[in-house]
């Protein structure tokens, strides 16, 4: 059990009639970046709040760094760094004051763990006397990361750290995470962006409170290999309707300028090309988004 940074079994949590988490079981190994990927409302934040001891589950058990979340939450609070989805530092304290405050709360000084936060903090340095509330979105994110790291945690929880951040900052942020991972710290990160799956060692696809798939990106892709065709139509909307009603088509979704068609084995490209309104057909290998939509579709049926 000790080889896992996080181990959960059958975590369930309901808010009234809504089942936010439905028997969630997963393991996060030490030293990996684990991505929790799913749309808004999938239950990612609820799972984070339970694992960071902010919320109690209705059922199930979980261990973080080998400590039970219900039996020994204090031990976890000493060891976990948490960056909530919503900016939660004191907006009226300056960058430097926030950092010093969170370092001292854990009985340390900024200098104790400066090595780890230094690459991030260097970018914040020019604004160190600015109030945290007055920083730009990307800078707030970086400061929050610094504050979550400053007490030398043994595990890092990042709840949607890249939501609402521009593409360049997002990429930079993932580079920073890769750097932190070099130190061997397990990182669990949630994101609604499927394209960020490739930056994680392993991912879990989540929807409506359930974990649909777990594994590395390649594992999940090969496990869910299926014929997918990219189709370009003359009028995408009408073509989409036609495709959905065509025999042998399980589902069809619009994907940029192409329609991705999830097909049954017997369907061939030539049959698809005969559907009215289809201009171009090519076979492609499914990407993570295709897989996700396909699995979600199964869930519905």
């Amino acid at each position: 059990m000790d080889s896992f940074a996080i181990h959960t079994e059958g975590i369930t949590k309901s808010f009234g009639a809504l089942k936010a988490l439905d028997s969630v079981s997963l393991d996060v190994a030490r030293g990996e970046i684990f991505g929790l990927i799913g749309p808004d409302g999938a239950g990612k934040t609820t799972l984070f709040r339970i694992l960071t001891t902010l919320m109690l589950p209705d059922e199930g058990r979980a261990e973080v760094c080998g400590f039970d979340i219900i039996g020994n939450p204090r031990a976890i609070r000493f060891r976990a760094g948490y960056m909530p989805g919503r900016f939660s530092l004191y907006p009226d304290l300056t960058v430097e004051e926030n950092l010093r405050f969170y370092a001292s709360l854990f009985g340390g000084r900024v200098s104790d763990n400066f090595g780890m936060v230094e690459p991030v903090y260097r970018q914040l340095e020019p604004f160190r006397n600015r109030r945290a509330g007055k920083l730009s979105g990307g800078m707030k994110q970086k400061l929050a990361l610094c504050c979550a790291l400053i007490h030398k945690p043994e595990i890092l929880f990042l709840d949607e750290p890249t939501t609402g951040v521009d593409a360049v900052s997002r990429s930079e942020f993932w580079d920073i995470l890769s750097g932190i991972k070099q130190g061997g710290m397990p990182i669990i990160v949630s994101t609604p962006y499927m394209d960020e799956a490739s930056r994680c060692d392993r991912i879990a696809l989540m929807n409506a409170g359930r974990i649909l798939e777990t594994g590395s990106l390649d594992e999940i892709l090969s496990r869910n290999d299926m014929p997918v065709y990219a189709v370009r139509g003359e009028n995408n909307y009408r073509t989409l309707q036609n495709l959905r009603h065509a025999a042998g088509v399980r589902d069809a979704v619009l994907f940029g300028e192409y329609i991705h068609v999830f097909a049954e084995e017997r369907l061939s490209a030539s049959v698809l090309a005969a559907v009215s309104g289809v201009a171009e057909v090519k076979g492609i290998s499914p990407n993570i988004e295709d897989v996700f939509i396909n699995i979600m579709g199964h869930g519905k049926k």
Binding site: R86, Y90, L105, F106, G107
Partner: protein, 362 residues
Amino acid sequence: MRTLLILLRKEFILFWKNKFIPKVAFIFPCVVILIIPLVTTMDVRHVGVAIVSHDNSRLTQNIITDLGATSFFTVSRSGSYADAMEMVKDGDVDVIVEIPKDFQRSVESGNPIMPHISANGVNGTKGSLGSGYVAGSVMNTVARFRGIKPEEKASVRYLYNPTLEYRNNMIPALMIMLLIMICGFLPALNLVGEKESGTIEQMNVTPVNTTVFVLSKVIPYWIIGLLDLTAAMLIAAAVYGLVPVGALAAIYVAAALFIILISGIGIVIANRSETMSQSMFLMFFIVLVFVLMSGLLTPISSMPHWAQAITYALPPRYFIEIMRSVYLKGTDMSALGMQYILLAFFAVLTNTVAALTYRKQQ
């Protein structure tokens, strides 16, 4: 302990950076003690008296002169009762004295027809007290005119507040309201503010002990509350000459117990509310009950019995008893033992509930 100091340091940095709270904390006591006692007076002054005279005699003249001799009355003459009524309607006159025809002659004949006194009952206190004063003054004048001594009346001496200044009664009550606002409202708002801004989320994942965290929320306001109380007492002494007759220690011990108690109530409310408006509304309701039912404004002894029974559960009741006794009578602490014990009991009670309702985990 070290954590508490770190948290307190943060609270004070945030306190001074706030644009609003420091001003409230320091301007509020000055305004309350400087202005409120001047405007909320129940002493009757400047009663407007209109004289409608049907008898131009020396006695009438004496009555008018005597009425005008005190600062209580503003005397004016009016041609007819109807004119005087107009003045009542305009609010210039509260009491009308109508002197009958052949008034002096009827007095001299030993069979006096007395003047007719009517008072505006809209402002009841002013009307009843004012007409009483006017009647007394008129009777005195008539008696002197007849060369007899005015009837001896039982004389009333008001103990501890000889001039019966409403102000002296009011100022200790205002000090208590001040402490309720500063030490009850502000910590509650501060704590709920952390909930609203989400900063409490980041605090709750730290190993900081909840008691230490809550203490860091209330201690700054305890300090500010005691500073404000001191400022209010200095202003009361300098402006109104109201100096506590009893020991300062008796006041500060009671105040210390009370601010711990009231901040406990604030924390309970904060624990139970999600937004500032919720906590404000709840707090306001409680303050209203405290102010109107604890004897701060109106005496408990004149409330209905069932209401008097409720007041035993309202902690400000004990604090106001202590404040008034020590301030006006100079009562010794030992004579108020029960009040101190009850204040301490409520302080322990509210803070226990506060500790039990604070949850890091939902």
